[in-house]
């Protein structure tokens, strides 16, 4: 009865988020502690832009109440893909879902990656699950004829996700792992620094731990390359009403769920610590 409601009320039929009941089409463990869930989300799939997210409800009848925000990794046809790391009770509950379960989500939400018209060669930098919101972006850039290079970081080879998507469309993929089990040993910032020194990029898109994004933003500022980052904040409503997700920017507080999660790296006041404590 509630179903997909509201869309159209403002005359932007189809451009507004809606509450959508969705079926789980598949849900598999694809790396250590990481799941890939495919949802049949007609409304969201048709509208979502790379970098946007959905607000998933996995809590019905559970002892926790809030929704959980997840980037859409890729959208194809009527389906969306969610790449998620199992961390706490919400993602544990997600890992238990199986094909034919139905859940609900609000989406698509937020401001995704901007692709300026003059971009020729983009560097995508991911740290761990940061690959999630970059998957759809890589494909879109490739479709639009932009050359893509990817620098991926992960703790170990077992926890590297998204490689297949990047490899399918990128000109070049460079990998760094903390233990050297895949690619070079160390943080992804190492290869990023070398790549930037090559001077061929006109934009950098970064997602991963906030310290990594901050470091990448600093390197980009150094060499004068535009940089966009996707920031995580704890989110209650996900639609701009509760002000739990604010990011301190040079223009004041902005809501990560509406004005973000993608921000211009220059805008962000990096020295204000707002990172939720993750284990």
């Amino acid at each position: 009865m509630t179903g997909c409601c509201g869309a159209g009320e403002k005359g932007h039929a189809g451009e507004r988020p809606s509450l959508e009941r969705v079926d789980v089409l598949s849900n598999e463990r694809i790396a250590e502690g990481v799941g890939l869930m495919i949802l049949h989300a007609r409304h969201t799939a048709s509208l979502v832009e790379p970098g946007q997210f959905v607000h998933l409800r996995v809590d019905k009848g559970r002892d926790f109440i809030l929704r959980r925000p997840f980037s859409v990794h890729r959208a194809r046809g009527e389906q969306i893909e969610i790449l998620y790391q199992v961390l706490g009770q919400g993602t544990l509950a997600m890992a238990e879902l199986s094909c034919s379960d139905d859940i609900d989500l609000i989406g698509p939400l937020g401001h995704g990656w901007d692709v300026p018209a003059d971009v020729n060669h983009a560097l995508l930098v991911s740290g761990g699950l940061g690959a999630a919101p970059l998957g759809g972006l890589a494909e879109k850039l490739a479709r639009e004829g932009v050359a893509v290079t990817c620098a991926m970081g992960a703790p170990t080879q077992e926890r590297l996700v998204g490689l297949d998507v990047f490899e399918a469309v990128a000109r070049r993929v460079v990998i760094a792992t903390d233990d050297g089990s895949e690619g070079e040993l160390g943080f992804v910032t190492g290869p990023v620094e070398r790549l930037l020194a090559e001077g061929s990029f006109d934009i950098v898109y970064a997602c991963g731990p906030e310290v990594m994004q901050r470091a990448v933003a600093a390197m980009c500022a150094e060499v004068g390359v535009r940089c966009q980052v996707s920031l995580e904040r704890l989110m209650a409503c996900g639609i701009g009403a509760c002000l739990s997700c604010v990011v301190t920017t040079k223009d004041g507080l902005k809501r990560a769920c509406v004005e973000g999660p993608v921000f211009d790296a220059e805008e962000v006041c990096w020295d204000v610590s707002e990172i939720p404590p993750k284990h």
Binding site: D59, A241, V258
Partner: protein, 306 residues
């Protein structure tokens, strides 16, 4: 439609089409929810707290999840009265719904000044004076837990406006009935409760509080039994209408609050969980009234048999 119960209720000089409101701070001014809620089917929109000047609110993280509830320490971040009047009231004007402005301040004068400035604004139907927020240092709960101070805020607001004046009570006190009576004596047309319970959560790995501000306000289903008890106590202590809130998630919860003595109810945290909650509550409450054979939903108010 014959046989359908009269869902309207009266708060001060306002007649609401039904008893279902939004709880301040959980619904902004409604614009973000317009995709999910038909605002013209709400009893009223209660806006996010507004102060005279812009407030930046507290540092992040501002929320933490707890068992069947959440803590928040938003801290009444808002762009101030001028922006609110232009943007929020401007938008609300285009909607067919009564507007209750939730008022915050650091001083007695600030509260009164907001009421004064909006007194002649026809887009505003009533004020809800928030002297119970646990998330600001001056004002807020400091007022809400001490009778004389809080009553002086209410008197000043009363003198500043002839619109319906609702005062929002803090649950973090020993005896709410005494405070509620003082507010009514000072001129409140109605009281609303509860605001959030002061709480805390700790990240044991980091040995740090989960909220940057250390403590915050607990809301959601976890607090419902406490809220219901306070509504029942206050409704039995004062002669003005009571607006009940605290963990309301569905129409059954709303009925509990009305039976306990609430004239209207507000939905807060549940909006985050399901943005269509208010609509479900309106529908469910109407259905309950119908199935109980009520002529007016008002028959439920305080109909608890003890």
């Amino acid at each position: 439609m014959t046989g359908s119960p009269d869902m309207s209720v009266v708060i001060g000089s306002l007649t609401l089409r039904n008893p279902v409101l939004t709880a301040s701070g959980t619904f902004a001014s409604g614009r973000e929810y317009a995709d999910f809620v038909d605002l013209s089917r709400l009893g009223a929109v209660v806006t996010k707290g507004v102060s005279l000047k812009p407030w930046a609110g507290n540092a992040s993280p501002r929320i933490a999840e707890t068992a069947c509830g959440m803590l928040n320490s938003i801290g009444l971040q808002n762009p101030g009265l001028a922006v609110f009047t232009q943007k929020d009231l401007g938008w609300l004007e285009t909607q067919d719904v009564p507007v209750i402005v939730n008022v915050s301040g650091h001083t007695v004068d600030e509260y009164a000044e907001i009421c004064r400035r909006l007194d002649s604004d026809s887009r505003v139907d009533a004020f809800e004076i928030n002297i119970s927020c646990p998330n600001v240092d001056a004002g807020g709960m400091v007022f809400g837990t001490s009778c004389p101070d809080a009553a002086s805020v209410v008197s000043a607001c009363r003198a500043a406006t002839s619109k319906t004046l609702i005062v929002k009570l803090s649950p973090n006190v020993t005896d709410n009935t005494e405070i509620a009576r003082a507010f009514v004596d000072a001129g409140a047309d109605a009281v609303s409760l509860i605001n959030t319970l002061l709480g805390m959560a700790i990240d044991i790995e980091k040995r740090r509080p989960k909220l940057a501000r250390v403590v915050g306000g607990l809301s959601g289903p976890a607090i419902r039994p406490v809220a219901l008890r306070m509504v029942w106590q206050v409704a039995n202590a004062v002669d003005v209408p009571v607006i009940g809130m605290g963990g309301i998630t569905n129409s059954r919860d709303a009925v509990e609050f009305m039976l306990a003595g609430a004239t209207a109810v507000a939905v807060g945290t549940a909006n985050f969980v399901d943005p269509t909650t208010t609509m479900r509550v309106v529908d469910g409450l109407t259905e309950y009234a119908r199935s109980e054979g009520l002529v007016r939903v008002e028959e439920l108010i305080g109909a608890l048999e003890t």
